[in-house]
């Protein structure tokens, strides 16, 4: 810095700039802290489990879990699920003839990873954008809250009924959404049958975890991610009787974890996908982990690990089976699907 510029730095204008810069730092820091604090805020209370049957016939008004309602003049015949989770919720309720298209995501993240027959012939789209969706002439679009709000607005402006769903993080949440969708689609009896069957399966899940300390995590090139409270993985651990160490620490949602953090927690059981299992076992630095030494790095298929629907119960069943095999000293059955 020269003398003249040093002098300039002491002028009122420069002091204002200095103040502005410090302000930017303070505001940035405050935003970061608030964002971090928000991640630890309490989750909303779960939706009620009981639901009255809708009035028969059409048009009908269907009550939504958020307290709102949706009116439909006739049973939807051209439904467009805009995300993999929405596809999963629809799968047990409707035949493919009632869908107008499928998102490409469904092939990676939903139970429909290997579509056959009429499912395979459905048109596909790769983005949640109004123009291609309107070309499908849908009468009901299902999307998640994290998807583009502007697209939802354009679709509604065009007269399309759009139902925005939260990502369910528990069986109770998925159960409520199945019942709502059943009412909306005119498949209320089928929805109650599916929910009943899943209720029985949840009740039949055995306490194979016996309270052991567990972590559910994934590792990839974006680093390691730990599942805390309020996640589908937390629900899966709970359903088989494992104690989620991350949730017990007060972690909510998914949080990044380093190998050091994993070593310090040293869980009894590690719940991962088949791919993460291979990666973890290849890390020499993790060889002394209790879960690695005890052969309790158990994996479930990736699409069940990320399932935000009733299939999280399937994931819990797969987890229970994998843990049982590990406890019996049997080799794991790694399967991607």
């Amino acid at each position: 810095m020269t003398r003249s510029s040093a002098t300039a730095a002491k002028t009122p204008g420069s002091r204002a700039t200095l103040g502005l810069a410090l302000g930017v730092v303070l505001v940035s820091a405050a935003v970061s802290i608030l964002a971090a604090a928000d991640a630890t805020a309490d989750a909303p209370a779960p939706a009620p489990l009981s639901r009255d049957l809708p009035d028969p016939g059409w048009p009908r008004v269907v009550a939504l879990p958020d307290g709102g309602s949706l009116q439909l003049d006739a049973p939807p015949r051209a439904v467009v699920p805009a995300a993999a989770g929405c596809v999963d919720l629809l799968l047990p309720l409707v035949d493919p003839a009632r869908l107008a298209a499928l998102p490409d995501q469904a092939l990676l993240y939903s139970a429909l990873h290997d579509p056959r027959g009429a499912w395979a012939e459905l048109p596909r789209f790769d983005r949640y954008e109004a123009e291609p969706l309107l070309a499908l002439a849908p009468d009901l679009v299902l999307c998640h809250g994290w998807q583009a709000g502007a697209t939802t607005d354009r679709l509604r402006e065009a007269g399309v009924t759009v139902l925005v769903l939260d990502d369910p993080t528990s069986w109770a949440g998925a159960r409520e959404q199945l019942l709502v969708l059943g009412d909306l689609l005119g498949e209320e009896a089928r929805a109650r049958e599916v929910v009943g069957a899943y209720d029985d399966r949840v009740a039949a899940l055995r306490d194979v975890g016996q309270g052991r300390r567990a972590l559910a995590l994934s590792f990839g090139s974006s680093g390691g991610w730990l599942a805390g409270a309020g996640t589908t993985n937390d629900e899966q651990l709970r359903l088989v009787g494992l104690t989620n160490m991350a949730a017990a620490e007060g972690i909510r949602g998914h949080q990044q974890i380093t190998l050091e953090g994993l070593l310090q927690r040293d869980p009894d059981v590690l719940v991962v996908t088949a791919e993460t299992r291979g990666w973890l076992l290849a890390q020499g630095s993790l060889a002394d982990l209790r879960a690695v030494r005890g052969g309790r790095v158990v994996s479930i298929p990736g699409w069940l690990y990320t399932a935000a629907s009733q299939y999280l119960v399937d994931g819990a069943e797969a987890l229970g089976a994998a843990l049982w095999r590990a406890d019996q000293g049997l080799p794991p059955v790694d399967r991607e699907r």
């Binding site: 810095m1 020269t2 003398r3 003249s4 510029s5 040093a6 300039a8 730095a9 204008g13 420069s14 700039t17 200095l18 502005l20 810069a21 410090l22 930017v24 730092v25 940035s28 820091a29 970061s32 971090a36 998102p103 490409d104 995501q105 990676l108 993240y109 790769d126 983005r127 949640y128 994934s218 590792f219 990839g220 090139s221 974006s222 680093g223 390691g224 949080q255 990044q256 974890i257 380093t258 190998l259 050091e260 953090g261 070593l263 310090q264 040293d266 996908t273 791919e275 993460t276 299992r277 291979g278 990666w279 290849a282 630095s285 993790l286 002394d288 982990l289 990736g302 991607e336």
Partner: protein, 360 residues
């Protein structure tokens, strides 16, 4: 404005160097010691280091492994800081402009594109974790980042150097154009991957930069790059001083400006590419640290280049220590921290040098 006025160092060069060389191991030790559990504290860190070189028993439980993981992270952090600061000092000297940074040559954008292409191409229709399983991502992302950075610089110098003359304004403008193109391709990749959350998340993590879970490979890449880049410093330091007075004057004094430009571009690129390839984009170190060191050691390039390696290493180590001490396991990506610090610093810099900038 007198160029000499601010060339007087606040501290003698020798004292500055000694202070930085003392600060560096101290910060490194703190980096090894900071954390929770049985491996926290200076004692376990020293004992773990001693055990690593065969001078003691390994720490019990997982403590020894944790110290080793911290060691690779610390070495990578120091190397990245040193590389970026050295690269920044070289580029600012070449452009005769204290507001230049390694990204001007397209290094950062090239490395980002290389790493992003590796992530997307290797991921294909599968999930990323399967690549991690094969160990491919750990190796290929830094390597592709490195290649991408060098290709970007090669493209910039090739276009700017057409006709056998590598002019600085042409280098700057070509760098801006190539940066814009690369940013467009990066945006395109990000846009195409938007609906694939695993790929999107990996791309975003690569963009923010990370120093977590570093392996010996990362430390080796960055320190080799730094060592090779440092070799160029003695051959360009005095010449860069002369270049500050203008190319014609420098040539009249016997400086081969073409050789100096090529050496500086190669060294700066190698250093920055090594850093970005192992840690992702960490902005502003190359801009901020040379300025801090000029305040300390004056404008002459010999001391500046010499101090930039320990200075950059100490700076990034200190920022990471602060980040981890305050936020613990929920620490921010280093790229975010540096932007939060570097952005306001850039505003200050513009303010301090308003008259000079206005005269451009």
């Amino acid at each position: 404005m007198s160029a000499r006025a601010d060339s007087r160092p606040v501290l003698p060069f020798g004292l500055s160097l000694v202070l930085l060389l003392l600060a560096l191991p101290a910060l490194g030790l703190l980096s090894l010691a900071l954390g929770s559990g049985e491996a926290s504290g200076v004692g376990p860190a020293l004992a773990g280091l001693a055990a690593l070189v065969g001078l003691g028993e390994p720490l019990p439980g997982h403590a020894q492994t944790i110290v080793e993981l911290r060691l690779w992270r610390t070495l990578t952090t120091a190397g990245v800081g040193g590389c970026m600061a050295l690269s920044g000092a070289l580029v600012q000297g070449l452009f005769r402009n204290g507001l230049a940074a390694p990204s001007v040559l397209g290094i950062t954008a090239g490395a980002s594109l290389g790493g992003s292409v590796a992530i997307v191409a290797l991921a294909g229709g599968s999930t990323l974790v399967s690549l991690a399983d094969a160990g491919l991502l750990t190796v290929f992302v830094p390597i592709c980042g490195f290649v991408g950075a060098l290709l970007a610089v090669f493209t910039v110098t090739l276009i700017a150097g057409r006709g056998g003359r590598l002019s600085v304004p042409m280098l700057l403008l070509t760098g801006i154009a190539v940066n814009t193109c690369l940013a467009g391709v990066l945006s395109l990749i990000g846009s195409l991957a938007l609906e694939h959350w695993e790929i999107s998340r990996a791309l975003q993590a690569w963009t923010f930069g990370t120093l977590d879970n570093r392996a010996p490979l990362h430390a080796v890449i960055v320190w080799w790059g730094l060592a090779l880049a440092v070799l160029a410093a003695p051959f360009v330091a005095w010449e860069l001083d002369l270049l500050q007075g203008g190319e014609d004057d420098a040539q009249a004094l016997g400086v081969s400006t073409r050789r100096v430009r090529l050496l500086v571009v190669c060294a700066a690129s190698l250093a920055a590419a090594s850093a970005v390839s192992v840690a992702g984009q960490i902005a502003f170190i190359g801009l901020v640290v040379p300025h801090l060191l000029r305040l300390l050691a004056g404008r002459a390039h010999a001391p500046l280049l010499c101090l930039s390696v320990p200075g950059g290493a100490a700076f990034l180590l200190a920022m990471e220590l602060l980040n981890r001490a305050v936020l613990g396991e929920a620490h921010l990506p280093p790229g975010v921290v540096m932007s939060l610090v570097g952005g306001p610093f850039f505003v200050l810099l513009l303010s301090w040098r308003r008259r000079e900038v206005e005269s451009w």
